[in-house]
């Protein structure tokens, strides 16, 4: 099996897919670092101080002003309310929710890339792991070997898991190193609140506790990895089912974007919560942002994603081992 994984790695690296992902990440991180830097500068100009308490207070006031506007939609109002309560909670406990520094930037970047950017990068790799063998035609040489088909597919899947891990590590390292140039490399031990809950009655801080940022980051990476594996497995399944890499990418892309659009408009269509795309923002549960449909919890989303993962695995392996290769 190690031999087979080595083979897949050889092919993956020879096609420089990971290099491309690395370049995309670096460019985006530079862009976002600059944007973040500009935001800080503007704020400084506006408030005339770098004190985070003043800034946070200002944000709360801004949000409250917006909420009094009767023309903003209800679910947006709810979301603002939760955010205000959270910010107020931070302020009351005298804890800065966004200590400037590379670890905070990395956390923010991670939390914002979980439902679209990261899945797209993973799709680049997952969607042609199998279908490219068909489009090159090498599948005929690959399968006419003294190796059972499920082993070949499993080696590809293990390669996918490794690639996902590498991409995540890359994301962490690249965003830490690049943003650190501007914001400094400190902030690992800054306190962060974990354990906020959004219940039907509203924002619940009873289980909130302070943990160091590095632990929070670790938790973030954990759930992001899980979400990435599920998206990767689904792309992998499409790659098994569809011969054309382009068509496969199109399908996954359409689903992901549909998810991003839906999450803003489905609060009344509750059965949409079983769609995998709406369950990807696992980090929201950790930092206490409201879910797209009320009543969704971390456990629920993990279960939904696990079911999708299992189905994708079953379909991939049955189809691949049974398929006639023409």
């Amino acid at each position: 099996m190690i031999n087979l994984v080595q083979n897949e790695m050889l092919k993956l690296l020879a096609r420089k897919r990971l290099v491309i992902v690395g370049i995309i990440l670096s460019v985006l991180v530079i862009l976002f670092t600059y944007a973040q830097f500009q935001t800080v500068q503007t704020q400084l100009k506006k408030l005339g101080t770098t004190d985070w308490r003043t800034a946070l207070q200002q944000q709360i006031v801004d949000a409250q002003n917006r909420m009094t506007n009767s023309r903003i939609p209800d679910d947006f109002k709810e979301e603002l309310e939760v955010r205000v309560k959270q910010q107020q909670y931070y302020l009351d406990n005298d804890i800065n929710p966004a200590v400037p520094g590379a670890p905070s930037f990395t956390r923010q970047f991670l939390e914002n890339s979980i439902d679209l950017l990261l899945p797209l990068l993973i799709m680049v790799i997952a969607s042609d792991l199998v279908s490219s063998e068909f489009s090159i035609g090498s599948i005929k040489l690959l399968l006419a070997r003294p190796v059972k088909r499920w082993k070949i597919l499993l080696s590809k899947y293990i390669t996918l898991l490794l690639a996902i891990s590498v991409i995540l590590a890359l994301l962490g390292v690249v965003s830490y190193l690049i943003s650190g140039i501007v914001f400094g490399y400190k902030g690992w031990t800054a306190p962060v609140f974990a354990g906020f809950k959004i219940t039907d009655t509203g924002f619940d801080t009873s289980a909130a506790n302070v943990i160091p940022q590095w632990r929070f980051l670790l938790m973030d990476f954990g759930v992001v990895w899980f979400a990435a594996v599920v998206v990767g497995t689904l792309s992998f399944m499409v790659s098994v089912l569809v011969r054309s890499t382009a068509a496969g990418m199109g399908i996954i892309l359409a689903l992901l974007i549909a998810g991003a659009i839906l999450s803003n408009m489905v609060s009344s269509w509750t059965s949409a919560k079983y769609l995998f795309m709406l369950n990807l923002r696992l980090t929201d549960y950790l930092n206490g942002s409201p879910p797209p449909i009320s009543g969704m919890t971390l456990t629920f989303s993990l279960m939904v994603l696990a079911v999708w993962w299992l189905l994708a695995m079953i379909v991939s392996f049955t189809v691949f081992t049974k398929k006639d290769i023409y």
Partner: protein
Amino acid sequence: MITLAVKDVRKRIGKKEIIKGINFELYDGEVFGFLGPNGAGKTTTIRMLTGLIKPTSGSISICGWDLKKDFTKAMMNMGCIVENPELYGFLTGYENLVHFARMIPGFENNRMNEVISLVGLNQRIHDKVKTYSLGMRQRLGIAQALLGNPKVLILDEPTNGLDPAGIREMRQFIRELAEREGLSVLVSSHLLSEIQLLCDRVAIISKGTVIKTDRVEALLSSQEKMIWNLNPIDKGEEILSKYTEVTRGEGTLITEFDEDQAAEWCRELVSLGVRVTGMNRKLPALEDLFLELTGGDSID
């Protein structure tokens, strides 16, 4: 020794049976030709032999191992190229071979250099495959097929796209593999002359069934013809048609070849005042034979 046995293999796709019971056997040290028009089921059969398509019924065994039950052991004894050798262009020739060698249990590394020099690719083996000519790709394809020391080599259209010199070289190479190393080589080709020059035995396949399997010479000699150059030709035709069926060629007459009768017919012609300027025995091209056997099923 039988190296490959195909027994009553059938393949049904939907309601249509595209392979309707194919039987044949391969022996060690022989080159076996697989001949049929496009759409006769050649490639489907080859894909079933290489495990890419599962037969609906029937059995395939390689060196005694059933392909269905002992897939791994059966495939250990087979090397193949199905259609064009579509290798990884973004890897070097050597990396391609390493890739496929890793898929062979218990592969010994010195086999790598053996195979590379066997196909004569030493010079370019570390170049990317996308820079290779078609002939070099074909040779690399053979190299990967030979990596595992197979007893059975299956080559689908091995001379496809090669220039005349390359074709001759490939033919020699395949004969050598069979004669020196004792491999069984199954070759499919749409070039009938190719099969005629290369193979010991041939199976002719049409519409999903094998319509004839025999030694190439035996098949051809059963259909041997006699070409007559006669003057005057009309009188000659009149006389010959008393004994046998006569068809008219370009200024010649064609009859069947009958060793006992030919001299008799000749004497008859001469005694009746027909000048016999030429008598030639002619083996039919496999092409004619094919048309005769299939009743005009087209072949390209």
